[in-house]
Amino acid sequence: MAVHPDTPVAPRGRPDGTRPGRRRLSRRRWLFLLPGVVYVVLLFAYPVVYNILLSVRASGVITFLHNTGGFVGLTNYRVAVTNPVLPGVVLNTLIFMAGSLIFQFGLGFLLALFFTQRFPLSVFLRSLILIPWLLPGVVTGIVLRLMFDPSLGMVNQVLSDLGIIHAPIQWLSSSHLALFVVVLANVWVGIPFNMLLLHGGLQDIPKDLYEAAKVDGAGRVRALRSITLPLMRPVVAVVLVLGFIYTLKVFDIVVIMTGGGPINATQLLSTWSYTLSFTNLDFGQGASVGTIMMLVSLVCAVAYVRTYRTELRR
């Protein structure tokens, strides 16, 4: 690899080990880190602060575009919190998150345990399961929207072929079922991710522990309870915290599948924030919901960093 001719020449080490220009050297070292730091400040810190500023200024599209919105304190938050839509959105978000986390973790763990066994094609088949996780959210959303289409979808077709249903179910246009289907879609994406990380954790458990347990007469269930679960705790923590952070962020799948509807039945905090800002053009409202989401995430971020550190210490 060619080095650019303008490359600054670093001070050479001397045989006696002393180095001239130590300060210049450390300044050059900073040059490597600087772009990254500037980047994070400009493209994370600044927008985050900007979002908070938007949330405490008068909202509306005209003030937004002309920078004339004055400081209004917590008015936007008060309006957002008293919005009659909010309780439903919070409840949807809670159901969506709890449903996603429980099922993607539970099923992911079962699959991870299953795939610790060796059998023909096990590695290949396990990697095929990762596909849903790697798909763009728009693809997931549109494919599952078709799956659950009342007349053209495969789900109703198969259910009626099996004689389970006699009239097509209106999955996505029913306010009761739509949230269930959206959770299902997100679980479909989440299972591979959970399986991947948990399987890795299981592989890291030393095999001799199980052999020793076997010698001591412990059965499979006992080994699972006394060896696997305790040793998996740090990995489980990482998986759940990451799952929480990403489930709160989910946006594209819901927008594509239901657009938050019918009548806000699948509206989540993320999609509602978007709707307030970009459909209602009330950016102050959207930004205040965004800030609330950030606070929730931040609490989780602390937990994330803690579990991450414990992971590192192991």
Partner: protein
């Protein structure tokens, strides 16, 4: 992973159990991939066949017409996705590789703090960035531009790439770098000629995940595009859905095109980059 594969080639101790497991695994994979099967089947139907009730579970007369039509009408969107994804990947690596090197191999007092901030960035919801970017980019006339979307798409990739590459670089032997320093290799030379070649696996996975993220991004494409000038595949599928809701064969062919990079990434995931994912986890 290769070790596990070579182990697999040995004879299985209990063939009946192995056979049963294989069967169960095939069923599981089958269930997980049913939606994709349905997408492909639908993409091979004609519009008329897709409306037939009862809907047939295999394409009656497989046709690739939908694919050529998508290439025709949405080729531009595919190209836009490609430009944006390559741009975001290159930008991310240009920033992340030197930063990862600095955080792994130079001892700064702020290393811990910077790493912490990088981890926290991953928790910022996309809609927060999207809303702010919309306003900031409107002020500096960067809405509806490739540069704007590339920069926005690289946001989550840069911290992720730094964390993944740094974690790998830390595990590299320090002796090589020290030897290079003694030999008077410039700092940039040491990075390009010693560290980068050794850190290739991590750089590749960071690059592929960045590419996949930018390729699949929908939120920034949706918020930062107001005039329809920069329309990547994700946004194109969305507007197509809005206009012709029931043109499922065409939509599914478009979805298959949009899914191609994921298939390519699968090969890499197989080689075990789970360490990197656990560190920063771009997708989830």
């Amino acid at each position: 992973m290769t070790k596990a594969m070579s182990k697999q080639r040995h004879r299985y101790r209990r063939p009946v159990v192995s056979g049963l497991n294989l069967f169960v695994a095939l069923v599981i994979v089958g269930i997980m991939l049913v939606p994709l099967y349905w997408a492909v089947v639908t993409s091979l139907k004609t519009l008329k066949q897709s409306f037939a009730i009862p809907t047939s579970l295999v394409p009656p007369t497989p046709t690739f017409a939908n694919y050529s039509q998508v290439l025709h009408t949405q080729g531009h969107a595919l190209l836009t996705s490609l430009i944006v994804a390559v741009g975001a990947t290159v930008l991310s690596l240009l920033i992340a590789v030197p930063a990862a090197h600095a955080l792994a191999n130079f001892r700064f007092r702020v290393t811990g703090l910077v790493t912490l901030v990088l981890l926290i960035t991953q928790t910022v919801p996309g809609i927060v960035l999207g809303t702010s970017f919309f306003k900031i980019f409107a002020d500096i006339h960067m809405l509806n531009s490739y540069e704007g979307l590339i920069i926005a798409d690289s946001t989550y990739c840069v911290p992720f790439a730094i964390l993944v590459i740094r974690a790998f670089m830390i595990s590299l032997p320090r002796e090589l770098l020290e030897a290079a320093e003694v030999d008077g290799v410039t700092m940039l030379g040491a990075l390009l000629r010693i560290v980068v070649p050794l850190a290739k696996p991590a750089i590749y996975s960071a690059a592929l995940f960045s590419f996949l993220f930018a390729w699949g991004d929908f939120l920034f494409a949706l918020t930062l595009n107001t005039s329809g000038t920069v329309v990547p595949m994700s946004l194109s599928i969305y507007s197509y859905l809005g206009q012709y809701e029931s043109q499922w064969p065409g939509l599914m062919a478009a979805a298959v095109f949009a899914a191609i990079p994921s298939g390519m990434l699968l090969l890499l995931v197989q080689r075990g980059i789970r360490g990197g994912i656990a560190t920063a986890g771009l997708k989830g």
